[in-house]
Amino acid sequence: MGQTIAEKIIARAAGKEAVVPGEYVVLKNIVGPIVYSWKGFSGTKHLESLSSAVGVKKAAKPEKCIINGDHLQPPLSIDEVLQSKAVRKQAEEMGIKKVYDHGEGIGHMVNIEKGDILPGTAFVSFDPQASFAGGIGAFYTGGGRFGSHFIEAYALGEITICVPGTIKVEINGSLHRNITSRDIWFKVFADLGPSAAYGMIFEFSGSTIDKMDMEQRMVLCGNTAFAGSDGAIIQSDEATQKWFKDWLDMDVDIVKSDADASYSKVYKYQAEDFVSMVTYPPDMFTAKPASEFRNVKISQCVIGTCAGGTLNDLRIAASILKGQKIHKDIRYIVSPITQRVFVQASNEGLLSVLAEAGAQIITPTCDICMGAIAPLAPGDVSLSQQTLNVPGRSGSHEADIYLASSATIAASAITGYITDPNIFENGSH
């Protein structure tokens, strides 16, 4: 009986030949847990409080634990500076050496760049959006719908999970150059709804995925928890190997689903059918084509967060904004997802193009999603790559957050209204 990518990784991490959905297993060979902090919340204190509740003083395997410091970047108050210092000190006391709080960028990507999460590995994070690394063929778990609490990974160095079923989303064909993973996910999510994937993970496949940029694969996997899923994954293939070789000079494994693997559900899409989509507030699972929002005036644009700010996103934004001016009523904030992307974007001249158009370029940071930087005032309307659009997410409860792709945001920044980038490029709005 064939195994899916996830089943293969789970089996290996649990020391078994094969696994089936619904079966309970203990993953013994895992990376993590991975935690982070934000204003007023310390990741290390959280670990301390949970571990004392279960009766262990220190991590079973501190060498596997990771503390990301991707919020509070840069710190905006003395308290935030002190908080970051305290987390660093406590991590040291806990024997945790992997601490990424030096401005490296958003943890979900940094953990891949540092070689901590590799194709074919299983890892634990307390953040469902860590399924981002599913894009390189790694298996994320936080315990899952029917499994244990993530603190088990800290206390015992293992975690009990219920093997999830896999929902296959197969996409074949060629995407229009302005269509990115966000457009794909918004459409799929709107079709399936927020309770489509209880106790399951998504596996994205097909010729479109085979050709897809690695960072876009990661973004595609990053937000599937909003559909109730336990995670998401994409095969590790020759493209994955090339990315790791080019960027990190590392050799990695190929992990693919068997041809006769079993899936709980299968959905098929044709790439050419995807259009630029916008998710509108207050819910996450409601999206429509961008062209239906042409009367929505916007006041802020955000390129960044763990659902954006990739090299591909910056290239698309620069290609549309080159020689153009951002509308005078719009704050256009750009936060590359990591320092690596920031440097590469700079080397390609993308940041100058964006700055000349009027963009404000800032450091890689999660704070732009949380409204700690460039918050929204009552009446503001943001068009953003961020992950969440719930009222109050980025500041005022009386501000609206619409979610869109880099191309849609770039075109909209010029016109001042939500604009389909294809319609924009064809000379009309």
Binding site: F146, H149, S195, A225, F285
Partner: protein, 181 residues
């Protein structure tokens, strides 16, 4: 301990109810005193709810109850009020994970919203997923969660379950350090 609960139903109509929106959540809310958070309990659903909510009440919800991201105010509020049991048409994954962590007892019973009205006296059996409506003299049955989750709930939630599991392993358990739940 048994996992049977008897109490007055607080019915939350609708599918995909987001707990943050229901509680009128804002960043920093968790730092308020529990009593104050309790006054906001499901206040956006109806301002009546925090006034009527009392110990041993049972929350009844729709499909995908707890949809989306929810912070901890909901769990602080129900603990303060003395509510332990939640029955829903279906529970969002985050609601289930947080509920089992915060020592709540949850069960999914499709059809529950049609079977129970606000104020009905009901009896819920978490292990059999059976709900008796005492007021209306009806019974409805759902699908219990997997045995592992039932065991965890019976132990007092994820952290208590792990504490007991770890206590059984002499090489890892630190009795002096353990502060319990």
């Amino acid at each position: 301990m048994g996992m049977k609960f008897k109490g007055t139903a607080i019915v939350i109509q609708g599918d995909h109810v987001n707990l943050d929106r229901a509680m009128s959540w804002y960043s920093g809310m968790e730092s308020l005193p529990s009593k104050e958070i309790a006054t906001k309990f499901m206040v956006n659903i109806s301002p009546d709810i925090p006034k009527r909510a009392k110990k041993n009440d049972i929350v009844v919800g729709g499909n995908d109850f707890g949809c989306g991201k929810g912070h901890f105010s909901f769990w602080i509020a129900i603990k303060e009020i003395g509510i332990k049991c939640i029955v829903a048409e279906s529970c969002s994954t985050q609601m289930l994970q947080n509920g089992v962590t915060y020592q709540a007892y949850l069960v999914e019973v499709p059809g529950i919203l049609a079977a129970v009205e606000m104020g009905d006296e009901i009896e819920v059996d978490i292990e059999s997923a059976e709900v008796k409506n005492i007021t209306r003299n009806t019974v409805i049955k759902g699908q219990p969660f997997p045995p592992f989750l039932l065991e965890v709930m019976k132990s007092g939630g994820h952290l208590e379950y792990l504490r007991k599991k770890i206590a059984g392993r002499e090489d890892t358990f630190d009795e002096e350090y353990c502060k319990g739940v």
